[in-house]
């Protein structure tokens, strides 16, 4: 319905593929408008269950990759609750309402060098596309993929042979036993990488931020806050973020994110599945 003008499309997408991928489903959707516009790190939002559904809100998914020529958008979906259960069961040929691309994607450092891309669980979904773009721009890519167990790892086979690939699992069922953040200090020292990209749970992002900062690297993180609208109108998806002026604001992760410069996120406010308003935030209750 909308075109390049506004940078966003709403469309009824046909499901062109739904295949298993580790513990997840890898969906391919016909959405040419979105395929043409999207950049790595952006996401799409899908409705759930058709017109008689009791689930009103869209579900958000990182874009795994797009094929502008074929007009397809791919996502990797974990069956985590009733909404994703419905989406993972979509059959080829069925259709689903999709809005995208949404949010700000990853940004590219000015000067090439080594880049470390870290994905936890399905958080690795956007990383291979990002790797391609970085590689085309002269970066050397080092992937770190982690998950609780081997079945929750996504995409190890998608890494380019030219790239380094490190795999970790909490239970040691594949790769090194431990967290994705464990190999990070050594990797940053060894490669001298100054660009780090991470997508995964909050705890992981925070750890990555601390390690990257300690090594003088700049990290960009993809956050996953619960979103009612995904398009910037509801204010549910906020996170305290420090602006260029040094002031902390409750920023919408759907339009100001989901990719944030890691050091601007007020990790101190994040705890136990909740995010508090820091006392020094603009407009904090007195």
């Amino acid at each position: 319905m909308t075109g390049r003008d506004t940078g966003v499309c709403q469309a009824t997408a046909r499901v062109a593929g739904n295949a298993p991928a580790a513990a997840y489903r890898h969906l391919t959707l016909d959405a040419p408008g979105i395929a043409q516009l999207a950049q790595p790190g952006q996401f799409v939002a899908l409705t759930v269950g058709g017109p008689t559904s009791a689930l009103l809100l869209r579900r958000s998914f990182s874009i795994h990759r797009v094929d502008p020529a074929a007009g397809t958008v791919e996502i990797v979906v974990s069956d985590a609750g009733p909404g994703t259960a419905w989406i993972t069961r979509l059959d080829d040929g069925e259709s689903v309402d999709i809005v995208g691309p949404l949010g700000r994607g990853f940004t590219l450092p000015d000067a090439p060098g080594a880049a470390v891309l870290i994905g936890g669980g399905y958080g690795s979904a956007p990383m291979f596309w990002l790797a391609n773009v970085l590689r085309e721009n002269g970066f050397a890519i080092h992937h770190v993929l982690g998950a609780a167990s081997a079945d929750r790892l996504f995409g190890a086979e998608l890494a380019d042979p030219a790239d380094e690939l490190i795999v970790t699992t909490d239970d040691g069922s594949q790769g090194e036993r431990g967290w994705v953040s464990d190999p990070l200090p050594g990797l940053l020292e060894r490669t001298g990488a100054k660009a780090v990209y991470a997508c995964g749970p909050m705890g992981m992002l925070r750890a990555v931020t601390e390690i990257a900062t300690a090594h003088g690297a700049r990290a960009e993180v993809a956050v996953e806050e619960a979103m009612a609208c995904g398009i910037g109108v509801c204010m549910t998806c906020v996170l305290p973020v420090v602006g260029a002026d040094g002031v902390t604001r409750m920023s919408r992760s759907c339009v100001d994110g989901p990719i944030f410069d890691a050091t601007t996120v007020r990790w101190d406010a994040v705890a136990g599945g909740r995010v508090a308003v820091p006392a020094d935030c603009l407009g904090a209750p007195r």
Binding site: D5, G7, G103, A228, I231, V233, V238, G272, G273
Partner: protein
């Protein structure tokens, strides 16, 4: 770090048409009549807080084509709002607990109002406050704005807590409701209608409607959200950071229809003065909009449905027009309260 690939910036003027005019083969007159000072080309509005201040939604449709654009309730000072989670999905609805996050009236006047004016939107500015004095102050600064001529009406969101009255929502108490309107009305030039926005969380909404009108409201917006709670059964604690939230969406539509019905019935019976009602609560389709209209609403706001379908306000307008066209009903405004006659 200077290359920004993002293309999700909001558009300027070059807006794709979810065009309300191109499809009009029905000849239906959708004009909405909200009193002598508020005639709108169609009855569809956004609901406050469900469309931010316009820029973001303008990517999905031309906000100038809506009957009016209702802004997020603005207070005097910048507001951070609450911590997260701020929302919970519920059956056919959702709870929200935003805490009126916003830039404050001065930033609103500086940034948002000029933008709404630049795209030609009819703005209905929703104002809020923790005291009746704050409401008046917000109104005063709004009226003083250089772009005040873009303001078609002011919606006074009295469904928010009154610090002076143990945090009791203004619209839960007739005296507080009158009080806010009494202080706001003198600040606003005649010719700018004041719509008082009411909460359904009261034993009887009719005396509250009466009190708001007595204070100087020219019309009523009904309904705001219902107070609700969702418990996170895993963590065994309230899911929302702010514990309670406002319930919205199709789930509450029967309550909205009832509230509109009761107040419109009291007006028809002459028990309270007649005034236009703007209906809101669970509208998702043209048929829903028609339902609220038949109950007594002269215009319709779409809120939560936007989260499901960002083009909902325009789609609902089209569906409503087509519904009337199919039934051979020439004028929308003839249907206001029509269910009271049958």
């Amino acid at each position: 770090m200077s290359v920004d690939w993002s293309t999700s910036d909001v558009a300027g003027d070059d807006v794709p048409a979810v065009d309300l005019t191109t499809v009009d083969v029905t000849g239906v007159d959708l004009t909405a009549d909200l009193g002598p000072n508020l005639q709108l080309p169609n009855p569809l509005m956004t609901a406050s807080g469900c469309a931010a201040n316009g820029k973001e939604l303008h990517r999905f449709g031309d906000v100038a084509q809506l009957g009016a654009f209702v802004t997020k309730s603005v207070k005097r000072d910048p507001q951070s709002g609450r911590g997260t989670p701020r929302m919970a999905e519920t059956p056919s609805g959702m709870l929200n607990s935003i805490g009126l996050q916003g830039p404050g009236i001065d930033a609103f006047v500086e940034h948002d109002l000029p933008w709404l004016k630049s795209v030609g939107a009819r703005a209905i500015v929703s104002i809020a406050g923790a005291s009746s004095g704050e409401f008046a102050e917000v109104a005063r600064r709004l009226v003083a704005a250089p772009d005040f001529d873009a303001v078609a009406a002011i919606e006074v969101n009295i469904s928010c807590p009154n610090v002076a009255n143990r945090g009791l929502v203004f619209a839960c108490d007739p005296a507080s409701s009158t009080g806010v309107l009494r202080l706001v009305a003198p600040e606003v030039p005649s010719g700018i209608p004041l719509l008082a926005k009411l909460t359904p969380d009261v034993t009887d909404i009719v005396p509250i409607a009466e009190a708001a009108l007595a204070g100087g409201a020219h019309g009523l917006t009904m309904i705001n959200t219902l107070l609700g709670i969702h418990i996170d059964t895993e963590r065994m604690r309230p899911h929302l950071f702010g514990t309670t939230g406002g319930l919205s969406g199709p789930a509450i539509r029967p309550v909205a229809v009832r509230a509109i019905w009761q107040v419109h019935a009291a007006m028809r019976a002459g028990r309270i003065p007649a005034a236009p009602i703007v209906g809101v609560g669970g509208v998702r389709t043209g048929q829903d909009a028609l339902e609220l209209t038949l109950a007594g609403a002269s215009a319709i706001q779409v809120g939560t449905a936007i989260f499901n379908d960002p083009s909902a306000p325009w789609r609902v307008a089209r569906e409503l027009r087509d519904l009337l066209g199919q039934r051979g009903i020439p004028r929308y405004r003839d249907l206001v309260g029509a269910a009271h006659q049958n």
